[in-house]
């Protein structure tokens, strides 16, 4: 393998490779910043362009877009409380409060360094552990996937500390929203009310744009005349000054990277879930968990490290087994095939130069994230100084056009506004929004895998329950879920008691 890796490394000597990676990273950052444009869309749009390029160069560009667009959703999440991509939803929990506290540069620097480190570690995992880890995912059947979704949903308990019942209600509403559209097995329509735009379910990206951008724009408009002091002056101008802080959080970096890689390997889970699980884990092991949700640097670092670590993780089953773990890798699979490459063991032998060249190009993409990402972030910080009366209509317009661009549908714009209204009510009633998003993201996976599991045992609920505790991986996931709920309840009680003490 060592010799094949060296062949891949030599591919990086080609200036066209470096140029392709740089173009991919810049394009990916732009895609991530704009609400509505996802990594999947970016990769899909570039595939036809790469067709005329040599395979290594084309794949390097696609990899650059994937890595950079996953990272750059954090920029708008931190500065505007609007996740540029679904991967950045967890980032805004602490990223935006940091920005509000006058530390946007610090938050962006942590996100950038975290993303780069998470990405690099995940590429290392892809290089070294790929074939071994991919085998584990073969043991995952429908019950395990169902429990994996349940485990993700249990994170709601922790995300709603201090408002657990409201959080559970929000999570329930999110799960209900995920059931809109056709049934995963029978194809029957539910809650569509004969509206064709809802047949495929609520479009996730439109929902996320509406849920986060509309309440934010309303708040901007309502407070446009408030004179807020420019707290960003206390922020260090040089983002590289925060590199030391990142290095001091080695445990957080390693744990979040590990979570990201693991979540990435398991198909169907996605970067947003990786971010949430790492955030939750960082909160549980933090010495200052009360800071989470109020601008905790640990929180920003954890979710950004994890969601970029997911990128390398998703490529492990893709390259070794041909299983795309998420929509982006499904599109990338098409990209591989267009270049005449067939995923599997042969890819690592017959086309070793191409596949190792691609893997090493991901190293370079993650390294380039730091200078390119920080340059972009530096100029994006100025956004917060634009008067709200100008910024609000522009964000609203970008949200509308971004939503339209997904399926060229005016109905999606209306769906986006309806979800925006729900988000607005959540904001007014102080209901945590993250549980609702988690319910929406994981609900479909949970339902489809539950139905598949039940179908496998002929609809016998007892037999299904027995499966959950007799299959080793299932049992492990059940125990993890129970522990997550227990921890969430403990945190909720601790949070409530703390507030009671403050009142006295």
């Amino acid at each position: 393998m060592f010799e094949e890796s060296l062949i891949g490394l030599t591919a990086l000597m080609d200036p066209a490779m470096i140029l392709a990676i740089a173009v991919g990273v810049i394009g990916g950052i732009l895609i991530g910043i704009l609400p509505g444009l996802t990594s999947t869309l970016g990769v899909a749009l570039v595939i036809p362009i790469t067709f005329s390029m040599p395979p290594q160069v084309g794949l390097a560009m696609l990899g650059g877009i994937y890595v950079a667009s996953t990272y750059s959703g954090a920029i708008t999440a931190i500065l505007l409380n609007i996740p540029g991509t679904p991967a950045a939803v967890a980032t805004l929990l602490d990223g935006y409060p940091m920005s509000e506290n006058g530390e946007p540069t610090r938050a962006l620097a942590l996100a950038t360094f975290g993303s780069a480190v998470g990405g690099l570690i995940s590429v290392l995992a892809l290089l070294l552990l790929g074939p071994i880890l991919a085998k584990v995912s073969l043991f995952f059947g429908p019950p395990e996937y169902f429990l994996l979704a349940v485990f993700g949903i249990t994170v709601i308990a922790s995300l709603s500390a201090g408002a657990m019942i409201k959080g559970l209600m929000a999570g329930g509403i999110g799960l209900l929203m995920s059931t809109v559209g056709y049934h995963p097995l029978t194809g029957s329509m539910r809650f569509t009310f004969d509206i064709p735009a809802l047949y495929d379910g609520i479009p996730l990206v439109a929902a996320l744009i509406g849920f986060y951008s509309i309440p934010e724009v309303i708040d901007m408009i309502a407070r446009r005349n408030d004179s807020a002091p420019d707290t960003t002056k206390s922020d260090k101008a040089n983002p590289y000054a925060y590199f030391g802080e990142v290095l001091r959080q080695t445990k957080n970096l390693m744990r979040s990277s590990f979570i990201g890689v693991l979540v990435g390997i398991i198909p169907g889970v996605g970067a947003s879930v990786g971010g949430f699980v790492a955030y939750d884990s960082a909160k549980r092991s933090s010495k200052t968990p009360e800071q989470f949700g109020k601008g905790s640097p640990e929180g920003v670092l954890a979710c950004e490290t994890a969601n970029n670590a997911v990128t390398g993780g998703t490529l492990i089953p893709l390259l070794t087994l041909g299983i795309p773990g998420n929509p982006v890798t499904a599109v990338m699979l098409g990209g591989l095939m267009i270049h005449g490459l067939q995923p599997g063991a042969e890819l690592f032998t017959t086309n070793a130069d191409i596949v190792f060249g691609f893997i090493f190009s991901l190293f370079v993409s993650n390294l380039l994230l730091i200078p390119i990402g920080l340059v972009f972030a530096k100029y994006c910080v100025k956004i917060v100084r634009v008067p709200k009366a100008i910024l609000a209509p522009i964000i609203l317009l970008l949200s509308i056009v971004g939503t339209y661009s997904i399926r060229s549908s005016f109905d999606d714009i209306l769906i986006m506004f309806v979800i925006g209204a729900i988000g607005f009510f959540c904001q007014r009633f102080s209901v945590p929004r993250a549980p609702l998003v988690l319910g929406l993201v994981l609900g479909r996976l949970a339902e489809s895998e539950l139905e598949r599991s039940l179908a496998l045992v002929g609809g016998d609920v007892g037999a299904f329950g027995l499966q959950l505790i007799t299959r080793p991986i299932s049992l492990g996931l059940v125990l993890l879920s129970v522990y997550a709920v227990y921890q969430g309840v403990v945190q909720h009680k601790r949070h409530s008691r703390m507030l009671d003490n403050q009142d006295r």
Binding site: L34, L37, L41, L45, S160, A161, G162, A163, M164, I165, K166, L168, M169, G172, I173, L175, L176, T179, H183, T186, S188, R190, F191, V217, I218, D219, I221, A222, R224, N225, A389, I390, A392, P393, I394, L396, L397, L398, I400, V401, S405, S408, F410, I413, L414, F417, G420, A421, R428, F429, S430, P432, G443, A446, E447, E451, H495, S496, L499, D500
Partner: protein, 156 residues
């Protein structure tokens, strides 16, 4: 008291939603609605439980069990006015875009939006509107080749 009212309002809205969803979900075939039935029932029980708990707390039986996170958000009338403006603007944009085209709708939307929010510098309004309109056109409709729908006045 105001906090209790706010807590109850959300639980009441959730209860209403759950009742509607339960009644709709139970009308679908059982093999296609097990999951929504279970979730809607869970939501209904949760909302009822929360309302009961809140009522008990109001009588002083369970004072320490009220959710406490950020309960005292100021309820500003200006937020509702802003929401009204935002939600009314969506159909307006769609109507102009379907009648004319995206460029005109974008320009009018931005200019009217900034004016409505108090910007009175005409040069600033025009330059920002034109600049953003060109950027949106270049990015979405030229570079990304997003499909346009035919408009009633200009056609395709």
């Amino acid at each position: 008291m105001k906090i209790f009212a706010r807590e109850d309002s959300f639980s009441l809205l959730t209860l209403l939603l759950a009742v509607v969803c339960v009644s709709v979900a139970f009308r679908y075939p059982a093999d296609s609605s097990g999951f929504p039935r279970a979730v809607a029932t869970f939501l209904l029980l949760l909302a009822v439980g929360d309302l009961v708990r809140s009522a008990a707390a109001r009588r002083g039986f369970a004072p320490d069990s009220i959710d406490t996170a950020d309960s005292a958000v100021p309820s500003d009338w200006r937020h509702f006015r802003a929401a009204l403006l935002v939600f009314a603007s969506a159909p307006a944009y769609i109507v102009v875009a379907r009648l004319f085209d995206f460029e005109i709708a974008t320009f009018v939307y931005l200019a009217a939006g900034m004016f409505a929010l108090g910007v009175r510098n005409s040069l600033l309004i025009v330059s920002v509107s034109v600049g953003v309109m060109l950027a949106v056109k270049a990015l979405f409709f030229v570079l990304l080749d997003v499909t346009r729908t035919s408009t009633l006045i200009f056609g395709t």
